[in-house]
Amino acid sequence: MNKTININLAQINFSLDEKGYLKLKSYLKELDNLFDSTSGKEDIIEDIESRIAELFSQFKKFDDYVISEKEVESVIQTMGSVEDLSDDEILNKNSSSKSSRKFFRDPDDYWIGGIAGGISKYYNLNSAWVRIILLILLIFGVPFTILIYVLFWVFTPEAKTTLDKIKMKGESVNINSIKNKIKEGYEEFSSSVEYDENKIINSISVFFKSIIKAFIKIIPFILKAVAYFVGILLFIISLFGIIGSIFGFLLTAFFTDIPFSLTMFGVGLEGILIFCFCVFTLGIPLFFLFNLSLILISRNPKIMLNTFSTFILLGFWVFSIILLIFMITLGVLDMDLMNYNSVFKLLIK
Protein backbone atom coordinates (compact mmCIF):
# COMPACT_ATOMS: atom_id res chain seq x y z
CA MET A 1 0.00 0.00 0.00
CA ASN A 2 1.34 3.37 -0.95
CA LYS A 3 0.31 6.89 -0.22
CA THR A 4 -0.66 9.00 -3.21
CA ILE A 5 -0.02 12.68 -3.50
CA ASN A 6 -1.78 14.97 -5.92
CA ILE A 7 0.18 17.72 -7.58
CA ASN A 8 -0.50 20.37 -10.13
CA LEU A 9 2.11 20.82 -12.86
CA ALA A 10 1.46 23.39 -15.56
CA GLN A 11 -2.20 23.45 -14.53
CA ILE A 12 -2.64 19.72 -14.96
CA ASN A 13 -3.43 17.39 -12.14
CA PHE A 14 -1.18 14.39 -11.55
CA SER A 15 -1.18 11.69 -8.90
CA LEU A 16 2.23 10.56 -7.77
CA ASP A 17 3.22 7.90 -5.30
CA GLU A 18 4.96 9.24 -2.23
CA LYS A 19 8.53 8.32 -3.13
CA GLY A 20 8.14 9.70 -6.62
CA TYR A 21 6.69 12.89 -5.22
CA LEU A 22 9.66 13.36 -2.88
CA LYS A 23 12.09 12.78 -5.74
CA LEU A 24 10.35 15.28 -7.97
CA LYS A 25 10.08 17.83 -5.20
CA SER A 26 13.77 17.71 -4.37
CA TYR A 27 14.65 17.80 -8.08
CA LEU A 28 12.61 20.95 -8.64
CA LYS A 29 14.02 22.52 -5.52
CA GLU A 30 17.55 21.83 -6.68
CA LEU A 31 16.75 23.33 -10.07
CA ASP A 32 15.38 26.36 -8.28
CA ASN A 33 18.69 26.73 -6.46
CA LEU A 34 20.66 26.16 -9.62
CA PHE A 35 18.99 28.91 -11.61
CA ASP A 36 18.85 31.24 -8.65
CA SER A 37 21.24 33.76 -10.13
CA THR A 38 20.07 33.31 -13.72
CA SER A 39 17.78 35.95 -15.15
CA GLY A 40 14.40 34.62 -16.22
CA LYS A 41 14.52 31.89 -13.61
CA GLU A 42 10.72 31.71 -13.37
CA ASP A 43 10.41 31.18 -17.11
CA ILE A 44 12.97 28.40 -17.09
CA ILE A 45 11.35 26.58 -14.20
CA GLU A 46 7.95 27.05 -15.80
CA ASP A 47 9.20 25.59 -19.08
CA ILE A 48 10.81 22.65 -17.36
CA GLU A 49 7.68 22.00 -15.31
CA SER A 50 5.47 22.03 -18.36
CA ARG A 51 7.84 19.68 -20.16
CA ILE A 52 7.71 17.35 -17.16
CA ALA A 53 3.92 17.59 -17.27
CA GLU A 54 4.04 16.62 -20.94
CA LEU A 55 6.24 13.63 -20.21
CA PHE A 56 3.96 12.61 -17.33
CA SER A 57 0.94 12.83 -19.60
CA GLN A 58 2.53 10.20 -21.81
CA PHE A 59 2.66 7.82 -18.86
CA LYS A 60 -0.93 8.45 -17.91
CA LYS A 61 -2.79 5.53 -19.42
CA PHE A 62 -6.09 6.36 -17.70
CA ASP A 63 -7.50 9.16 -15.55
CA ASP A 64 -6.66 7.78 -12.13
CA TYR A 65 -3.20 6.58 -13.12
CA VAL A 66 -0.60 7.05 -10.38
CA ILE A 67 2.85 7.97 -11.61
CA SER A 68 5.48 5.76 -10.04
CA GLU A 69 8.90 6.56 -8.62
CA LYS A 70 10.52 4.85 -11.61
CA GLU A 71 8.66 7.03 -14.04
CA VAL A 72 9.70 10.14 -12.11
CA GLU A 73 13.29 8.94 -12.27
CA SER A 74 13.12 8.36 -16.01
CA VAL A 75 11.71 11.85 -16.52
CA ILE A 76 14.50 13.36 -14.41
CA GLN A 77 16.99 11.42 -16.52
CA THR A 78 15.52 12.81 -19.73
CA MET A 79 15.60 16.34 -18.37
CA GLY A 80 19.10 15.91 -17.03
CA SER A 81 20.25 15.68 -13.43
CA VAL A 82 21.11 18.84 -11.55
CA GLU A 83 24.79 18.02 -12.03
CA ASP A 84 24.33 17.69 -15.78
CA LEU A 85 22.59 21.03 -15.96
CA SER A 86 24.93 22.72 -13.55
CA ASP A 87 27.82 21.78 -15.81
CA ASP A 88 26.07 23.67 -18.57
CA GLU A 89 25.23 26.59 -16.33
CA ILE A 90 28.81 26.87 -15.17
CA LEU A 91 30.01 26.58 -18.74
CA ASN A 92 27.64 29.39 -19.63
CA LYS A 93 28.87 31.63 -16.91
CA ASN A 94 32.47 30.86 -17.76
CA SER A 95 33.22 30.68 -14.09
CA SER A 96 36.22 28.64 -13.20
CA SER A 97 35.82 26.50 -10.17
CA LYS A 98 37.69 23.63 -8.70
CA SER A 99 37.12 20.39 -10.45
CA SER A 100 36.22 17.14 -8.86
CA ARG A 101 35.90 13.81 -10.54
CA LYS A 102 33.53 10.94 -10.36
CA PHE A 103 34.79 7.42 -10.42
CA PHE A 104 33.70 5.47 -13.48
CA ARG A 105 34.96 2.44 -15.32
CA ASP A 106 36.57 3.69 -18.48
CA PRO A 107 35.26 1.83 -21.54
CA ASP A 108 37.90 3.49 -23.73
CA ASP A 109 40.91 2.44 -21.71
CA TYR A 110 40.70 -1.07 -20.38
CA TRP A 111 42.48 -4.40 -20.05
CA ILE A 112 39.91 -6.21 -17.96
CA GLY A 113 37.11 -4.03 -16.67
CA GLY A 114 38.42 -0.51 -17.07
CA ILE A 115 39.07 -0.05 -13.34
CA ALA A 116 42.68 0.95 -13.83
CA GLY A 117 41.59 3.31 -16.58
CA GLY A 118 39.01 4.82 -14.24
CA ILE A 119 41.49 5.19 -11.40
CA SER A 120 43.98 6.86 -13.71
CA LYS A 121 41.33 9.36 -14.87
CA TYR A 122 40.25 9.98 -11.30
CA TYR A 123 43.73 10.74 -10.02
CA ASN A 124 44.98 12.09 -13.35
CA LEU A 125 47.70 9.44 -13.69
CA ASN A 126 48.98 7.44 -16.58
CA SER A 127 46.97 4.22 -16.68
CA ALA A 128 50.15 2.17 -17.29
CA TRP A 129 51.43 3.15 -13.82
CA VAL A 130 48.15 2.22 -12.23
CA ARG A 131 48.31 -1.19 -13.90
CA ILE A 132 51.88 -1.74 -12.76
CA ILE A 133 50.89 -0.89 -9.17
CA LEU A 134 47.89 -3.22 -9.44
CA LEU A 135 50.13 -6.00 -10.75
CA ILE A 136 52.54 -5.50 -7.85
CA LEU A 137 49.62 -5.60 -5.42
CA LEU A 138 48.40 -8.72 -7.18
CA ILE A 139 51.75 -10.43 -6.61
CA PHE A 140 51.75 -9.58 -2.91
CA GLY A 141 48.16 -10.36 -2.11
CA VAL A 142 46.50 -12.35 -4.86
CA PRO A 143 43.03 -13.18 -3.44
CA PHE A 144 42.68 -9.82 -1.74
CA THR A 145 43.45 -7.77 -4.83
CA ILE A 146 41.21 -9.88 -7.04
CA LEU A 147 38.35 -9.52 -4.56
CA ILE A 148 38.75 -5.75 -4.38
CA TYR A 149 38.97 -5.54 -8.15
CA VAL A 150 35.79 -7.56 -8.60
CA LEU A 151 33.99 -5.45 -5.98
CA PHE A 152 35.03 -2.27 -7.77
CA TRP A 153 33.88 -3.78 -11.03
CA VAL A 154 30.46 -4.70 -9.69
CA PHE A 155 29.77 -1.43 -7.93
CA THR A 156 31.30 1.07 -10.32
CA PRO A 157 29.18 2.23 -13.22
CA GLU A 158 30.68 2.36 -16.67
CA ALA A 159 31.08 5.80 -18.20
CA LYS A 160 28.54 5.33 -20.96
CA THR A 161 27.48 8.81 -21.96
CA THR A 162 29.52 11.82 -22.89
CA LEU A 163 28.53 13.50 -19.68
CA ASP A 164 29.76 10.51 -17.68
CA LYS A 165 33.08 10.85 -19.42
CA ILE A 166 33.21 14.55 -18.70
CA LYS A 167 32.55 13.82 -15.07
CA MET A 168 35.07 11.01 -15.03
CA LYS A 169 37.80 13.38 -16.12
CA GLY A 170 36.76 16.23 -13.90
CA GLU A 171 33.64 18.26 -13.53
CA SER A 172 32.97 21.71 -12.26
CA VAL A 173 31.58 21.68 -8.81
CA ASN A 174 29.86 24.07 -6.52
CA ILE A 175 28.69 23.69 -2.97
CA ASN A 176 25.27 22.67 -4.19
CA SER A 177 26.43 19.72 -6.20
CA ILE A 178 28.66 18.48 -3.39
CA LYS A 179 25.74 18.71 -1.01
CA ASN A 180 23.53 16.92 -3.47
CA LYS A 181 26.06 14.19 -3.98
CA ILE A 182 26.31 13.52 -0.27
CA LYS A 183 22.55 13.52 0.01
CA GLU A 184 22.18 11.24 -2.99
CA GLY A 185 24.75 8.87 -1.58
CA TYR A 186 22.93 8.79 1.71
CA GLU A 187 19.57 8.18 0.07
CA GLU A 188 20.96 5.37 -2.02
CA PHE A 189 22.55 3.90 1.05
CA SER A 190 19.41 4.11 3.15
CA SER A 191 17.25 2.68 0.40
CA SER A 192 19.66 -0.19 -0.10
CA VAL A 193 19.49 -0.97 3.60
CA GLU A 194 15.76 -1.47 3.31
CA TYR A 195 15.07 -5.15 3.10
CA ASP A 196 13.88 -6.06 -0.33
CA GLU A 197 14.09 -9.68 -1.34
CA ASN A 198 13.89 -9.09 -5.05
CA LYS A 199 16.54 -6.45 -4.93
CA ILE A 200 18.92 -8.70 -3.02
CA ILE A 201 18.37 -11.67 -5.33
CA ASN A 202 18.79 -9.40 -8.28
CA SER A 203 22.01 -7.88 -7.02
CA ILE A 204 23.38 -11.33 -6.16
CA SER A 205 22.73 -12.60 -9.66
CA VAL A 206 24.30 -9.47 -11.11
CA PHE A 207 27.28 -10.01 -8.84
CA PHE A 208 27.84 -13.61 -9.96
CA LYS A 209 27.31 -12.72 -13.58
CA SER A 210 29.95 -10.05 -13.22
CA ILE A 211 32.35 -12.50 -11.59
CA ILE A 212 31.91 -14.99 -14.40
CA LYS A 213 32.29 -12.21 -16.92
CA ALA A 214 35.41 -11.10 -15.10
CA PHE A 215 36.95 -14.54 -15.27
CA ILE A 216 36.18 -14.90 -18.93
CA LYS A 217 37.81 -11.56 -19.53
CA ILE A 218 40.74 -12.37 -17.24
CA ILE A 219 41.71 -15.55 -19.16
CA PRO A 220 43.15 -13.78 -22.21
CA PHE A 221 44.82 -11.35 -19.86
CA ILE A 222 46.51 -14.19 -17.97
CA LEU A 223 47.55 -15.80 -21.25
CA LYS A 224 48.99 -12.47 -22.33
CA ALA A 225 50.88 -12.12 -19.06
CA VAL A 226 52.26 -15.67 -19.34
CA ALA A 227 53.31 -15.06 -22.95
CA TYR A 228 55.01 -11.86 -21.86
CA PHE A 229 56.82 -13.58 -19.02
CA VAL A 230 57.97 -16.46 -21.23
CA GLY A 231 59.01 -13.91 -23.83
CA ILE A 232 61.22 -12.05 -21.36
CA LEU A 233 62.72 -15.32 -20.14
CA LEU A 234 63.48 -16.44 -23.69
CA PHE A 235 64.88 -13.01 -24.48
CA ILE A 236 67.37 -13.22 -21.62
CA ILE A 237 68.28 -16.84 -22.36
CA SER A 238 68.80 -16.33 -26.08
CA LEU A 239 70.65 -13.05 -25.76
CA PHE A 240 73.04 -14.38 -23.14
CA GLY A 241 73.30 -17.62 -25.12
CA ILE A 242 74.40 -15.83 -28.27
CA ILE A 243 76.84 -13.53 -26.49
CA GLY A 244 78.05 -16.41 -24.30
CA SER A 245 78.69 -18.77 -27.17
CA ILE A 246 80.70 -16.16 -29.09
CA PHE A 247 82.82 -15.31 -26.06
CA GLY A 248 83.07 -18.94 -25.06
CA PHE A 249 84.45 -20.04 -28.39
CA LEU A 250 86.75 -17.03 -28.53
CA LEU A 251 88.14 -17.80 -25.09
CA THR A 252 88.71 -21.49 -25.83
CA ALA A 253 90.47 -20.40 -28.99
CA PHE A 254 93.09 -18.60 -26.92
CA PHE A 255 93.68 -21.25 -24.30
CA THR A 256 95.69 -23.99 -25.89
CA ASP A 257 95.72 -26.22 -22.83
CA ILE A 258 92.05 -26.99 -22.92
CA PRO A 259 91.39 -30.31 -24.63
CA PHE A 260 89.78 -30.09 -28.04
CA SER A 261 90.36 -26.36 -28.02
CA LEU A 262 90.14 -24.68 -31.36
CA THR A 263 93.85 -24.00 -31.48
CA MET A 264 94.25 -27.71 -32.15
CA PHE A 265 93.33 -26.83 -35.67
CA GLY A 266 95.71 -23.93 -35.88
CA VAL A 267 94.94 -20.27 -36.25
CA GLY A 268 94.73 -20.54 -40.01
CA LEU A 269 91.69 -20.67 -42.25
CA GLU A 270 90.67 -24.01 -40.84
CA GLY A 271 90.55 -22.67 -37.30
CA ILE A 272 88.54 -19.62 -38.25
CA LEU A 273 86.05 -21.77 -40.20
CA ILE A 274 85.63 -24.14 -37.27
CA PHE A 275 85.09 -21.18 -34.99
CA CYS A 276 82.42 -19.76 -37.30
CA PHE A 277 80.62 -23.08 -37.68
CA CYS A 278 80.58 -23.58 -33.92
CA VAL A 279 79.02 -20.15 -33.46
CA PHE A 280 76.43 -20.83 -36.16
CA THR A 281 75.53 -24.25 -34.80
CA LEU A 282 74.70 -22.79 -31.43
CA GLY A 283 73.81 -19.29 -32.50
CA ILE A 284 71.15 -19.96 -35.16
CA PRO A 285 68.73 -21.84 -32.86
CA LEU A 286 69.37 -19.16 -30.24
CA PHE A 287 68.59 -16.54 -32.83
CA PHE A 288 65.24 -18.24 -33.54
CA LEU A 289 64.51 -18.19 -29.81
CA PHE A 290 65.48 -14.53 -29.70
CA ASN A 291 63.07 -13.76 -32.51
CA LEU A 292 60.32 -15.72 -30.76
CA SER A 293 60.94 -13.80 -27.54
CA LEU A 294 60.62 -10.48 -29.36
CA ILE A 295 57.32 -11.63 -30.87
CA LEU A 296 56.01 -12.64 -27.46
CA ILE A 297 57.07 -9.41 -25.80
CA SER A 298 55.84 -7.03 -28.48
CA ARG A 299 52.81 -9.20 -29.36
CA ASN A 300 53.46 -8.25 -32.95
CA PRO A 301 53.63 -11.34 -35.20
CA LYS A 302 54.78 -9.15 -38.08
CA ILE A 303 58.36 -9.11 -36.83
CA MET A 304 58.61 -12.87 -37.34
CA LEU A 305 61.27 -13.95 -39.81
CA ASN A 306 59.76 -14.67 -43.18
CA THR A 307 59.88 -18.21 -44.58
CA PHE A 308 62.65 -17.36 -46.99
CA SER A 309 65.12 -16.19 -44.33
CA THR A 310 64.00 -18.98 -42.02
CA PHE A 311 64.91 -21.60 -44.63
CA ILE A 312 68.19 -19.87 -45.44
CA LEU A 313 69.13 -19.87 -41.76
CA LEU A 314 67.98 -23.48 -41.30
CA GLY A 315 69.99 -24.51 -44.35
CA PHE A 316 73.01 -22.68 -43.04
CA TRP A 317 72.59 -24.39 -39.68
CA VAL A 318 72.47 -27.92 -41.14
CA PHE A 319 75.39 -27.03 -43.41
CA SER A 320 77.43 -25.81 -40.41
CA ILE A 321 76.73 -28.95 -38.42
CA ILE A 322 77.70 -31.26 -41.28
CA LEU A 323 80.88 -29.33 -42.03
CA LEU A 324 81.75 -29.09 -38.36
CA ILE A 325 81.45 -32.86 -37.93
CA PHE A 326 83.41 -33.37 -41.12
CA MET A 327 86.21 -31.02 -40.09
CA ILE A 328 86.47 -32.33 -36.56
CA THR A 329 86.68 -35.89 -37.82
CA LEU A 330 89.36 -34.85 -40.27
CA GLY A 331 91.17 -32.89 -37.59
CA VAL A 332 91.13 -35.79 -35.17
CA LEU A 333 92.41 -38.15 -37.85
CA ASP A 334 95.09 -35.64 -38.78
CA MET A 335 96.32 -35.15 -35.26
CA ASP A 336 99.73 -36.60 -34.65
CA LEU A 337 100.17 -39.20 -31.99
CA MET A 338 102.03 -36.86 -29.63
CA ASN A 339 99.25 -34.41 -29.56
CA TYR A 340 96.69 -37.17 -29.17
CA ASN A 341 98.67 -38.65 -26.28
CA SER A 342 98.88 -35.36 -24.46
CA VAL A 343 95.15 -34.89 -24.80
CA PHE A 344 94.58 -38.41 -23.59
CA LYS A 345 96.78 -37.80 -20.56
CA LEU A 346 94.95 -34.65 -19.70
CA LEU A 347 91.65 -36.46 -19.89
CA ILE A 348 92.85 -39.24 -17.59
CA LYS A 349 94.06 -36.71 -15.07
Binding site: Q11, S39, D43, I48, E54, N92
Partner: protein
Protein backbone atom coordinates in the same frame (compact mmCIF):
# COMPACT_ATOMS: atom_id res chain seq x y z
CA UNK B 1 42.80 19.70 -22.02
CA UNK B 2 40.08 17.16 -22.08
CA UNK B 3 38.39 16.16 -25.27
CA UNK B 4 34.85 15.63 -24.00
CA UNK B 5 34.81 18.98 -22.28
CA UNK B 6 36.01 20.65 -25.44
CA UNK B 7 33.35 18.85 -27.47
CA UNK B 8 30.65 19.96 -25.02
CA UNK B 9 31.89 23.52 -25.22
CA UNK B 10 31.92 23.46 -29.02
CA UNK B 11 28.39 22.10 -29.11
CA UNK B 12 27.31 24.64 -26.53
CA UNK B 13 28.57 27.60 -28.48
CA UNK B 14 26.77 26.54 -31.63
CA UNK B 15 23.50 25.63 -29.92
CA UNK B 16 22.10 29.16 -30.00
CA UNK B 17 22.74 29.40 -33.74
CA UNK B 18 21.00 26.07 -34.22
CA UNK B 19 17.91 27.16 -32.28
CA UNK B 20 17.63 30.31 -34.38
CA UNK B 21 18.07 28.26 -37.55
CA UNK B 22 15.33 25.85 -36.54
CA UNK B 23 12.95 28.76 -35.95
CA UNK B 24 13.99 30.65 -39.08
CA UNK B 25 11.05 29.61 -41.26
CA UNK B 26 8.15 29.11 -38.89
CA UNK B 27 7.30 29.09 -35.22
CA UNK B 28 7.65 25.87 -33.33
CA UNK B 29 6.84 24.76 -29.85
CA UNK B 30 9.63 23.79 -27.53
CA UNK B 31 9.28 20.05 -27.99
CA UNK B 32 9.72 20.36 -31.75
CA UNK B 33 12.90 22.36 -31.24
CA UNK B 34 14.01 19.76 -28.73
CA UNK B 35 13.34 16.90 -31.11
CA UNK B 36 15.23 18.48 -34.02
CA UNK B 37 18.24 19.19 -31.81
CA UNK B 38 18.17 15.68 -30.39
CA UNK B 39 17.87 14.12 -33.84
CA UNK B 40 21.01 15.96 -34.82
CA UNK B 41 22.86 14.95 -31.64
CA UNK B 42 23.19 18.52 -30.50
CA UNK B 43 21.61 17.97 -27.11
CA UNK B 44 22.49 15.53 -24.36
CA UNK B 45 19.81 16.30 -21.78
CA UNK B 46 16.57 18.14 -22.44
CA UNK B 47 16.95 20.50 -19.51
CA UNK B 48 19.77 22.32 -21.29
CA UNK B 49 17.37 23.82 -23.82
CA UNK B 50 15.14 25.83 -21.51
CA UNK B 51 17.70 28.21 -20.02
CA UNK B 52 18.91 28.85 -23.57
CA UNK B 53 15.42 29.62 -24.86
CA UNK B 54 14.86 31.97 -21.96
CA UNK B 55 18.17 33.68 -22.59
CA UNK B 56 17.33 34.16 -26.27
CA UNK B 57 13.89 35.44 -25.32
CA UNK B 58 15.34 37.87 -22.79
CA UNK B 59 17.71 39.24 -25.43
CA UNK B 60 14.62 39.76 -27.61
CA UNK B 61 15.83 37.41 -30.32
CA UNK B 62 12.83 35.15 -29.75
CA UNK B 63 9.29 35.66 -28.60
CA UNK B 64 6.61 33.18 -27.70
CA UNK B 65 2.85 32.79 -27.54
CA UNK B 66 0.70 30.29 -25.71
CA UNK B 67 -1.39 27.76 -27.56
CA UNK B 68 -3.80 25.23 -26.15
CA UNK B 69 -3.02 21.60 -26.75
CA UNK B 70 -5.47 18.71 -26.96
CA UNK B 71 -3.36 16.35 -24.93
CA UNK B 72 -1.33 17.92 -22.19
CA UNK B 73 -0.59 21.39 -20.93
CA UNK B 74 -0.75 24.51 -23.11
CA UNK B 75 2.30 24.93 -25.28
CA UNK B 76 4.73 27.78 -25.77
CA UNK B 77 5.23 28.46 -29.46
CA UNK B 78 8.46 30.26 -30.14
CA UNK B 79 9.14 32.41 -33.14
CA UNK B 80 12.07 34.49 -34.22
CA UNK B 81 11.89 38.29 -33.94
CA UNK B 82 13.16 40.85 -36.43
CA UNK B 83 16.16 41.40 -34.21
CA UNK B 84 16.62 37.65 -34.07
CA UNK B 85 16.68 37.41 -37.85
CA UNK B 86 19.35 40.08 -38.10
CA UNK B 87 21.29 38.31 -35.41
CA UNK B 88 20.91 35.01 -37.24
CA UNK B 89 22.12 36.34 -40.58
CA UNK B 90 25.16 37.80 -38.90
CA UNK B 91 25.80 34.59 -37.00
CA UNK B 92 25.37 32.55 -40.19
CA UNK B 93 27.97 34.60 -41.99
CA UNK B 94 30.49 34.23 -39.21
CA UNK B 95 29.66 30.54 -38.91
CA UNK B 96 30.34 30.03 -42.61
CA UNK B 97 33.61 31.88 -42.37
CA UNK B 98 34.54 29.97 -39.29
CA UNK B 99 33.63 26.55 -40.63
CA UNK B 100 35.39 27.27 -43.93
CA UNK B 101 38.61 28.29 -42.30
CA UNK B 102 38.48 25.47 -39.75
CA UNK B 103 37.80 22.96 -42.51
CA UNK B 104 40.67 24.31 -44.53
CA UNK B 105 42.95 23.98 -41.55
CA UNK B 106 41.71 20.46 -40.87
CA UNK B 107 42.33 19.47 -44.50
CA UNK B 108 45.78 21.00 -44.53
CA UNK B 109 46.86 19.35 -41.32
CA UNK B 110 45.61 15.94 -42.41
Amino acid sequence: MNIDNTKAQMRKGILELCILLILKKDSKYSFEILKTLKDHHMLIVEGTLYPLLTRLKNSELLEYRWEESKNGPPRKYYNITKKGKEFLSELSISWNELSNSVNELVKKEI
